[in-house]
């Protein structure tokens, strides 16, 4: 089962290493990990997706809190959440029907972000299963390069995750 954990961490050198080292050390497999800034100064936000049961997710949460640079952890496994993944996919257009590709673009809300002589680059954004589905449709057309950001997620509703009380 996938678990999405959010960690608000101090923006300091070596913090990413401490987090990834923790998952490796405790024998958890990271499926995806994204890091970025938050609206708060000096605070970074990590979205970590692991394959684990509920008890293991609770263990990981406790271990994360033991790291001195970790301010706040939220397990999105049990709450309604918005999740997004973004993919850039470069597809070859040589040797097949350009129209087939444009049809996929049209039907899946993908965006063409670049075109070359032989290729077209698409941006796909959405819930991770949506991105999976679009990629599945593009595969027969010839994907020659792909990158995905991994999941970012946020709890639905008015509750906000903030490190303000740790300033």
């Amino acid at each position: 089962m996938h678990h999405t954990l959010i960690a608000l961490v101090e923006d300091k050198p070596g913090v990413l290493n401490r987090i990834s080292s923790l998952f490796r050390r405790r024998n958890f497999n990271i499926e995806s990990l994204t890091v970025g800034r938050t609206a708060e100064r000096g605070v970074s936000r990590m979205t970590i997706v692991i394959d684990s049961d509920q008890a293991s997710a609770e263990r990981v949460t406790a271990y994360l809190y033991k790291l001195v640079n970790v301010l706040q952890v939220e397990d999105l496994g049990n709450v309604p959440a918005v999740a997004r993944d973004l993919a850039l996919v470069k597809v070859t257009v040589a040797g097949h029907d350009r129209a087939a590709l444009l049809r996929v673009v049209d039907e899946t809300r993908a965006h063409i972000v670049d075109t070359g002589e032989q290729t077209m680059t698409l941006e796909i954004t959405g819930e991770p299963p949506h991105v999976d589905a679009v990629i599945a449709r593009l595969e027969p057309l010839g994907i020659i390069e792909m990158v995905r950001t991994g999941r970012v997620a946020m709890r639905r509703g008015d509750t906000a995750l903030s490190a303000a009380k740790y300033s």
Partner: protein
């Protein structure tokens, strides 16, 4: 504000933190700090290997209750500390390690004696710092001490580049308390958690308290005894918990686990309530977790939330300081009487034991159990005993009965051979008035034997009892039990330890028979300097009882009945 170099700031901070003794070894990248050291009132103990420095700092911390400090240079100096840091991490021992690092401009260029010690020690420190700017030294050292001793204690490493040590700034000590954004060691007890635990305690007819090192570290000895007496609950001890409750207390059952007393393990398996206080259900304590204490409800009090539900899922967790929790419980808990349960456990002692020591065959050989039991009687149980890892460690836990906290210092979690000698030196420096014994096997002694020189150079007086059986004894025992006596790489030839002692200008004795033990032990105690005693004990003796790794806790291997009992069968136990 006066000008200070980074090197001076290191010592200013150490002095402000109350440090009087440090254990270290100089080298290129830490030279500025060593140069500045001469102007500060700190005793430096020159070790023979940086691992020794970390174990000494560890022994110093565990014996004295403060923070131990170890210092080393970059590269190999720092990597030699790794075993000692991991040892302190596993046993929650508060030490601060300060290492020199190559100049900041050279970091990442594979400079001479450069190693990424902060990267290496991320998983084995509570936290660590790489300091490249002189102004960051004081905050890092202040935080290091605060982290090391607060919450669940542990090792912290501060790696300081040579240029940061050499640079100067206007500086003064900042006496304000440390505040860290992401670190909140104090955890209040919540009334709801307390109520849940209380209800379980009230219902229990067959309670057992499991007392770990957390009892000692939170200073909860008095509260624990009052609590146990109030609810009339027997107490089982972990290895690191020994001394937290006097061995002679009527409710103290003794040690649990792989080499615990049979009646203790049986009591745990038959209990209806376990109260785990400052212990972590280590696999050496539980045996097979699937069949562990099957009829017991479980309360777990630990300052480290990540220990809750880690090895054993519990019914009533309390993530808080043990002493505070016990104080809260004592406010509200009623007196109880569990006489039938205690009488039942007592009855198990009768048929389960007639302690091992009284069942040794009379082969004319010296037995380790007898040696340790004799040392206990001769020192009246008042010594600080530092043990290594292996058979002698378990025999010590069984036959030296500890009455006071911090009187047993041993490498429990990591099981580090070579720990005893340096840790004993550190323990003696923390408590100069205490009688300190290092009890160590012939294998472990040789791992850090070089620190004998340190003891001699520093004029430290400890007593060393080598339990010499000519084997890596515990591994040999496993080979005997589980590998058809195929003794692969366990027979061990040792040098003449008496001559080794003499080569250091120290006294050494060899003991082959039990009749000599009393006299030699007394001579060692009377001597001014460190004394080494080479006890030549029975070679193929084993530690009983034994729960094989991963077996059910009550599935113990017992000592075979000897055909002839030793004439010492009336030993006090």
């Amino acid at each position: 504000m006066p000008k200070r170099t980074g090197a001076q700031i290191i010592w200013e901070c150490l002095v402000h933190e109350g440090v009087q003794t440090v254990f270290g070894y100089p080298g290129g990248a830490i030279l500025p700090a060593y140069d500045a050291m001469l102007d500060y009132p700190v005793r430096h103990v020159l070790v023979r290997h940086e691992q020794g420095a970390t174990h000494m700092a560890d022994g110093y911390a565990r014996a004295g209750g403060g923070v131990g400090v170890a210092i080393a240079t970059s590269g190999p100096g720092a990597t030699n500390m790794v075993t000692g840091i991991a040892t302190a991490m596993m046993d929650s021992s508060p030490i601060v390690c300060i290492t020199g690092q190559v100049p900041s401009k050279l970091i990442g260029y594979d400079a001479f004696q450069e190693t990424d010690i902060t990267g290496i020690t991320v998983p084995i420190t509570k936290h660590n710092y790489l300091i490249t700017r002189v102004e960051d030294i004081m905050p890092a050292i202040k935080e290091a001490f605060f982290l090391a001793k607060s919450g669940r204690p542990g090792p912290v490493l501060v790696d300081i580049t040579k240029d940061a040590q050499a640079a100067s700034i206007d500086w003064q000590w900042d006496p304000s308390p440390v505040k860290m954004r992401g670190y909140r060691p104090e955890r209040p007890v919540t009334p709801r958690d307390l109520d849940k635990a209380m209800a379980l305690i009230r219902e229990s007819k067959r309670p057992v308290i499991l007392a770990g090192q957390g009892v000692i570290q939170s200073g909860a000895m008095r509260e624990l005894i009052e609590f146990a007496e109030r609810i009339d609950s027997p107490i089982a001890m972990t290895l690191l918990g020994l001394g937290g409750v006097p061995a002679s207390h009527r409710l103290n059952l003794g040690m649990m686990g792989m080499h615990g007393e049979a009646w203790v393990n049986h009591a745990i398996q038959e209990a209806d309530l376990l109260m785990a206080f400052g212990m972590r259900f280590d696999d050496r304590v539980t045996g097979n977790t699937k069949t562990y204490a099957p009829t017991a409800k479980k309360i777990h009090v630990d300052i480290d939330a990540s220990e809750i539900n880690k090895n054993i899922v519990v019914d009533a967790p309390i993530e808080a300081d043990l002493r505070e929790t016990l104080k809260d419980l004592l406010e509200v808990i009623d007196r109880a009487d569990h006489a039938p349960w205690i009488a039942y456990i007592d009855s198990m002692k009768g048929h389960a034991a007639v302690r091992d020591i009284q069942k040794l065959p009379d082969s004319g050989h010296l037995y380790a159990a007898h040696v340790i039991n004799d040392i206990w009687r001769i020192t009246e149980g008042k010594a600080v005993v530092v043990t290594d890892v292996g058979q002698h460690q378990m025999w010590e836990a069984q036959y030296y009965h500890h009455e006071t906290p911090r009187s047993l210092i041993t490498s429990g979690g990591l099981g580090t051979m070579g720990f005893a000698l340096p840790a004993a030196i550190g323990a003696k420096m923390a408590r100069p008035d205490a009688e300190v014994w290092a009890i160590v096997g012939d294998g472990g002694f040789q791992m850090t034997q070089a620190e004998l020189t340190t003891a001699a150079q520093e004029g430290v007086k400890i007593n060393i009892a080598i339990i010499n059986n000519g084997y890596l004894g515990m591994v040999r025992q496993w080979q005997e039990f589980f590998y058809e006596r195929r003794y692969a790489a366990t027979p061990l030839r040792s040098p003449d330890f008496v001559k080794i002692a003499e080569a250091h200008g120290l006294e050494g004795f060899r003991v082959d028979t039990r009749g000599e033990v009393l006299d030699v032990v007394q001579r060692a105690r009377r001597a001014d300097g460190t004394v080494l005693i080479d006890f030549r004990v029975e070679q193929e003796d084993s530690v009983y009882p034994m729960v094989p790794a991963g077996a059910d806790l009550d599935a113990m291997i017992r000592r075979p009945e000897p055909s002839v009992l030793a004439e010492t069968g009336a030993d006090q136990i």
